[in-house]
Symmetry: C2
Subunit: 307 residues, 2 copies
Amino acid sequence: MAQVYDRVALIGLGLIASSMCHAMRRAGLAGEIVGYARSAETREIAREIGLCDIVCDSAAEAAKDADLVLLCVPVGAMESVAQEIGPVLKKGATVSDVGSVKRTVIDAVAPHIPQGVHFIPAHPLAGTEHSGPRSGFAELFDNRYTIIVPVAGSDPAAVAQLETFWRGMGALTDEMDADHHDLVLAVTSHTPHLIAYTMVGVADDLRRVTDSEVIKYSAAGFRDFTRIAASDPVMWRDVFLNNKEATLEILGRFTEELFALQRAIRQGDGDHLHDYFTRTRSIRRGIIEAGQDTDAPDFGRVKPRKE
Amino acid sequence: MAQVYDRVALIGLGLIASSMCHAMRRAGLAGEIVGYARSAETREIAREIGLCDIVCDSAAEAAKDADLVLLCVPVGAMESVAQEIGPVLKKGATVSDVGSVKRTVIDAVAPHIPQGVHFIPAHPLAGTEHSGPRSGFAELFDNRYTIIVPVAGSDPAAVAQLETFWRGMGALTDEMDADHHDLVLAVTSHTPHLIAYTMVGVADDLRRVTDSEVIKYSAAGFRDFTRIAASDPVMWRDVFLNNKEATLEILGRFTEELFALQRAIRQGDGDHLHDYFTRTRSIRRGIIEAGQDTDAPDFGRVKPRKE
């Protein structure tokens, strides 16, 4: 794979940005990788592990001569970063982001992007429960979708270049409108996360069922919820504050359905339960066929890697 | 590992029973394995793949000379099986089960167990989304808990023998009271399953968000829900009908907490969300430390096995 951008700047050095460093290097996509993180400790770790070629002490310094600037900060921090780097951006550069919500990020960032700079929002649908500069790995985006969300007036050549870059990191790409993206993600990610957080919170509250029992016996379903509910709290706070409408709509539908199932349990309506559970089974089959998961029966039983 | 029972009878030949066949053979725990399934097709498959030493055409025939009889049928089918095999059980034999609910199983089965036969309920906390006689594998119980639920008058020697048997199949064992078991499982398994079924049902209903989009973009959280929601519909129908009280209680707590988070989203209360999400993260750490999951960052990315 040939180089796609000469100088790439990462603003924010968490799980996504550090995985991008490894993935860019694996494929030789960037001439030089420059990084910045707000926390001095994060910058120190990034220097220590040689995450980027250069770690700068301000976002503006990192963005100044970059051909691609990637905003990899929580959604709520996008505006202040855009405000800081806007004045120094190079003509012809592309600014993109990796935020989980697109409409509010566009509204917050676009006004700070000067004429002659391409703003092309994006969202890689990949993650783990870990965060920070040490958590990245080159394979994170392999075979996962990155959704590109061009805005009015996005230059087709600049969009194509950004897609080439993401494909070079192993991702599949798709284009989508911002509002549609936010609704799809409310269904496939935001609401499931909120529900998982809630279920784990309920377990934690139960005094009669002690923590250690919940933990010991977690293999029976709860474990998958705790993995989801272990994701970065700041990132997820910002997701819900910034995708309020769609999340509340899906939550409303969820509660409606849950009440219907609860009523079936209370009334002993086995047919209702059986029909419902049969229908949901087929969706799973589709996901495996689409290559987005494995049906290996010992799934999840790999041994922890030695640190 | 030495032989623990001479003749073991499995009534029902689904995921759990077929995994037990493989796990018993791996460790040489049984002199002879006899099986029965209600469906002629399942019996045929079991014979074809050599799952047991003998596949019988009735539950009574399978149970007749067995030293350990394991009821591996959905919770709602336990009573009729117990009724059928009760009269033929050998004096000194042990009857156990693998049902996900214990109180109603005890109430349904105990009256049919004759004097001189040990009835010791149990529940292995292990499973996959697959079912049927072909879905079993020897490692299913490795390092997972099997909860033994002795009833009034259970013989300590017979209980110890059953625990040795489960440990021989790779499991960890613990003893618990039936009602406590049902409450713990309502938290760690039953309610999470109902919630996962509901979320997958909501996604399926959404016409604006097509199935294919939900499937393509499932990597962002929803995927874990679909795995849970793909479990056997009959088994789960019976779980909810038979653990009604505890499930409804935990569901009530869940809804209460969910509404509080929903309100925080509506009101833009970021602190509430952040505090909640921070608290749930620590539970996850406990599960990894307890060896019930892995924190490998590429978790879930193993390639599907070739069929």
